[in-house]
């Protein structure tokens, strides 16, 4: 019996999807970092303004992560409360508000033209 020979041509969109998701993820991280910061600032009860005015977003890990930084000394006590002060959470609710939209935006436009 004669041996059979042949080959398969493998073609799929996975490499293109990986590149697209990576680009989307970087853009989404930056955009959502700014959205979270804006939302968190709006939730702070302004007294001296230090907590709101000193906050910023910093891109790290080549844009794959964003740090939302509140450098004021009273940032954690306001968010989590203390023995003598009730909490007034501003950052966690802002993250929760934006998390669904963040995951949606990573896949946005990925399946066009496939």
């Amino acid at each position: 019996m004669a041996a059979k020979a042949g080959f398969f041509i493998v073609y799929n969109h996975i490499p293109a999807l990986i590149v697209g998701v990576e680009a989307n993820a970087r853009a989404a991280v930056k955009r959502k970092g700014e959205d979270v910061l804006r939302s968190a600032r709006s939730r702070i009860h302004r007294v001296s303004g230090e907590l709101q005015d000193t906050a910023y977003v910093e891109s790290v890990s080549a844009g794959k992560e964003a740090l939302i930084v509140f450098p004021a000394a009273h940032a954690a006590p306001v968010e989590y409360g203390t023995y003598k002060m009730t909490a007034r959470p501003y950052l966690y609710p802002a993250i929760m508000e934006n998390q669904d939209d963040f995951f949606d935006s990573i896949g946005k436009g990925m399946f066009k033209g496939l």
């Binding site: 002060m85 959470p89 609710p93």
Partner: protein, 140 residues
């Protein structure tokens, strides 16, 4: 219904109904521990809450997700006394469900541990240890 307050009742009943933890703390307090209470004690507050509504009928409120910081607080800088309390809190509140006369607690799970070192200008500091817990609740 104000689900946060009804769930707070359940948290207080769950913690204060346990003899093991009550041998270690003065009680569980929503928001702020009163100044006349002897520490250690448990404090808890809402970190975030959201209503879950029907996809086809958004006016219909199905249940409410409430995230809580629930932590033991003690005066001083030693964590030793807080270890047993935080462990017991986790036994009482992680992966459990329950109910009150008005509310079903469909689930209560810990999302992550929580610790806070509170320093002051005076020699007195405070330590907080517990967790971030998520309750999913529904009115009866």
């Amino acid at each position: 219904m104000q689900e946060e307050l009804h769930t707070a009742e359940w948290i207080v009943a769950t913690v204060e109904g346990d003899a093991t933890i009550m041998a270690l703390i003065s009680g569980a307090y929503y928001g702020l521990i009163p100044p006349d209470v002897v520490l250690p004690a448990v404090r808890f507050h809402v970190q975030d809450s959201r209503d879950v509504r029907g996809a086809t009928a958004p006016a219909q409120r199905i249940m409410t997700t409430i995230d809580w910081i629930i932590a033991a607080v003690n005066e001083g800088r030693l964590l030793t006394d807080l270890v047993a309390i935080a462990d017991r809190l986790d036994t009482l509140l992680n992966n459990v469900n329950g109910e009150t006369a008005t509310l079903l607690v469909l689930s209560c799970v810990r999302l992550e541990p929580f610790m806070l070192a509170e320093e002051e200008d005076t020699p007195v500091g405070y330590r907080h240890a517990g967790g971030l817990y998520r309750t999913i609740v529904q009115p009866k």
